[in-house]
């Protein structure tokens, strides 16, 4: 079996060696190929029967947004080992930043492109703000504090109705445009798809570079043994803050894109479920493996938004008693739960384990006397 695999792989060896050396270019090529292949795939059965190509492309765009979010969370959880359960807060702050800067509600209409950067900066500032008081916390305690922060932000957004219009949220957010060339619209999903593909590529390249840098090694060291890292001269305080800031700024940028895509932000979009879904993607894909995590996010998103919807239609068509009363879309949270529990029990290293995590999760050798 392995001989067949080897034989099939052999001609690709030089290609792989090339891309290992030029990884950023490899990522670029990979994402471009995938972004062309996915829409083409929706033209062939059985995918073409499910929904129109435009609807598919729209779904892919959302999936990619979700995947970027998961990649950002992976920096905090997978690289630095800090369990952040309030990640949706930064996503929300990015979204509201753009909503305030470009909507009829505030009466300001700043262009979209610089706001991408602004969203990142706002995210980073709040990342530091959350990171600073939690520096001494570990494990469960850190999770609780970040969970609280994740709740504070949407609730504040809900209650500060003078600034955010409360539960109604801010609607009519400007679509991005390239003046004189291209105006993004709600009907045509392709420009947004293109934007997300470019951003996805950039973020993935950046994250891979960070992982291999001095800073990435620092995060590894902290995750492995914080005391030893300090004794190696690592300023763990600053390194952890940087992890929070990098993760949060990615969420901020993605928040801006998301707000521009759906043109409305409400506090309800950013509840705990968003953080958990990103976490589920990280766990499913494999903590610490950027491509794995992005794939995990794609799988979860497409599963919940396509498969569950299909299940609804299927049950309706066959008119199965009791089941046709059920809206399967409501069961996406059960999905997250199942993913988290199953993965933790059966394959804690994720579907695509990071090289560094493989060993960590290798099964313990337990003798007859049990674990000692």
């Amino acid at each position: 079996m392995s001989r067949i695999v080897d034989a099939v792989n052999a001609p690709f060896a030089p290609v792989r060696a090339y891309f290992r050396k030029h990884r950023s270019f490899g990522i670029f090529v990979g994402v471009v190929l995938l972004s062309v292949a996915l829409p083409l795939l929706t033209r062939v059965p059985p995918f073409d029967g499910i929904q129109s190509t435009n609807a598919w492309v729209n779904a892919f765009t959302t999936a990619a947004i979700y995947a970027m979010l998961a990649m950002g969370l992976n920096v905090v959880i997978g690289f630095a080992g800090l369990l952040d359960l309030g990640y949706a807060a930064f996503f929300a702050l990015g979204g509201y930043t753009y909503a305030l800067a470009a909507s009829p509600f505030s009466g300001i209409h700043l262009p979209f492109w610089p706001m991408l950067l602004a969203g990142g900066i706002v995210g980073a500032i709040f990342g530091v703000l959350l990171g600073a008081p939690t520096l001494r916390l570990r494990g469960d305690y850190l999770a609780i504090v970040t969970l609280g922060f994740g709740e504070i932000v949407p609730i504040t957004l809900m209650n500060a109705d003078k600034f955010t219009d409360g539960v109604n949220g801010i609607g009519g957010i400007d679509k991005p445009s390239i003046p004189g060339i291209l105006q993004f619209t709600l009907i045509n999903p392709w420009p947004m798809y293109g934007l997300v593909v470019v951003l996805f590529t950039l973020i993935m390249i950046m994250i891979y570079r960070l992982e291999d840098s001095r800073l990435g090694r620092t995060w590894d060291a902290i995750r492995e043994d914080e005391l030893a890292a300090e004794s190696s001269g690592v300023n763990t305080v600053i390194a952890k803050l940087q992890a929070f800031a990098v993760g949060a700024s990615i969420a901020g940028i993605v928040g801006v894109v998301n707000a521009a895509k759906i043109t409305i932000v409400t506090p309800d979009q950013f509840r705990f479920a968003v953080s958990i879904s990103a976490l589920a993607a990280v766990v499913l894909g494999g903590m610490g493996n950027t491509i794995g995590v992005a794939t995990g996010a794609f799988i979860i998103y497409l599963f919940q938004s396509i498969l569950l919807k299909q299940l609804n239609t299927l049950v309706e068509n066959f008119n199965i008693p009791i089941l046709n009363q059920v809206d399967f879309l409501e069961f996406q949270y059960v999905l997250y739960g199942i993913v988290l529990v199953l993965m933790m029990l059966k394959r804690p290293q994720g579907i695509f384990p990071a090289r560094r995590r493989m060993r960590e999760f290798a099964p313990l050798k337990i003798g007859k006397g049990g674990l000692k």
Binding site: R214, S231, I238, R359, E360
Partner: protein, 332 residues
């Protein structure tokens, strides 16, 4: 080069280290010995900046680095004080705008106040040198943290080996070189030429270091997969990767067979002779201690009971008593 004055460390009512004065000359190999629970490791941890001392100071190369923290009660003020001008600015801004504050003014003023707060927070966390000097004037001092001690030229190993187990040996060394690398976040993102050259040079040096401790050819082995003795060697290599002036070794020969012990002894000598690093070690194996130490300090119940040349220590009745009990010392 390292001088400890009146170092005391208490854990609640327990006095782990009691008023220890200690000095080691440059270029020497010194050892701290003592029965179990004598406070050796606690003393080590105080020197390395892991525990703040209850009393006493530690100087490295004449620079006072560690002393008990003072003015902890005033620290919250440090957080609030720098924020006040920003809040004042925000309020002034709102007043200047007048009664009917709109959305933009509201968001802008909140942003200004927030920026001030985050700035103050960062200043307190990062604590650059000038800031440390500034707060010293109002009586707030903090002992150096372990990473500050590494910058000052001290490196250590641990009694129970603490490697980064899922990193390769090479990466372990690269983390050890952290303080001498300068690649920043932005440098990494844009992969500047400077960063690339630095990384390449660092990798080269890391390989040399691995060869120095006889781990050449194991660059891509995961640290966890190394046998015990090699893990010890890797930990030492990681420590000397930070180019320390003083190397603290906590029981380097623990759990080793005689042959490995011999190699370890030779390595410690080479570290001193070839790299010019002063070595301080804790060790139980008397053959190791007597074989390589220039000076020996004996701790018992947290107090220094003897110090001097190995020969003198071996015959010191107080030391024999501490190890073997009163009867043995009296010659029964």
């Amino acid at each position: 080069m390292l001088r400890a004055r009146g170092v005391t460390r208490k854990f609640g009512g327990l006095v782990a280290v009691n008023n220890v004065d200690f000095e080691i000359p440059r270029g020497s190999i010194s050892a701290i010995i003592g029965p179990n629970g004598a406070g050796k490791t606690t003393f080590f941890n105080v020197i390395a900046g892991i525990y703040a001392p209850t009393e006493g100071t530690i100087e490295l190369d004449g620079k006072p680095l560690i002393s008990p923290p003072t003015g902890a009660g005033r620290e919250p003020i440090l957080l609030v004080l720098p924020t006040i001008p920003f809040i004042a600015l925000a309020i002034y801004f709102l007043m200047a705008v007048g009664g009917d504050t709109g959305l933009v003014e509201g968001v802008a003023s909140v942003a200004v106040a927030l920026l001030g707060f985050v700035g103050a927070l960062l200043l307190n966390i990062v604590r650059p040198d000038w800031y440390n000097r500034l707060i010293k004037r109002i009586g707030v001092t903090r002992p150096a943290r372990p990473n500050d001690m590494v910058v000052a030229g001290l490196a250590r190993t641990f009694q129970n080996i603490r490697l980064y187990k899922s990193l390769t040996t090479l990466e372990n060394i690269l983390v050890g070189m952290h303080v001498h690398l300068h690649g920043s976040l932005l440098g990494a993102l844009f992969k500047t030429r400077l960063v690339r050259e630095e990384e390449a040079a660092a990798e080269q040096r890391a390989r040399e270091l691995l060869a120095f401790v006889d781990l050449a050819g194991m660059e891509n082995e995961l640290a966890a997969n190394l046998p015990y003795g090699k893990q010890r060697l890797l930990e030492i290599a990681r420590a000397i990767a930070s180019r320390p002036k003083l190397l603290l070794l906590d029981e380097p020969a623990a759990g080793m067979n005689p042959k490995e012990t011999e190699e370890m002894t030779a390595l410690i000598r080479r570290i001193r002779d070839e790299l010019g690093i002063t070595v301080l070690l804790i060790e139980h194996d008397m053959r190791v201690v007597m074989g390589i130490s220039d000076y020996i300090t004996v701790l018992d119940h947290g107090e220094k009971i003897a110090e001097g040349l190995p020969k003198a220590i071996r015959t010191n009745p107080k030391v024999i008593e501490a190890y073997l009990g009163r009867g043995a010392a009296a010659g029964h």
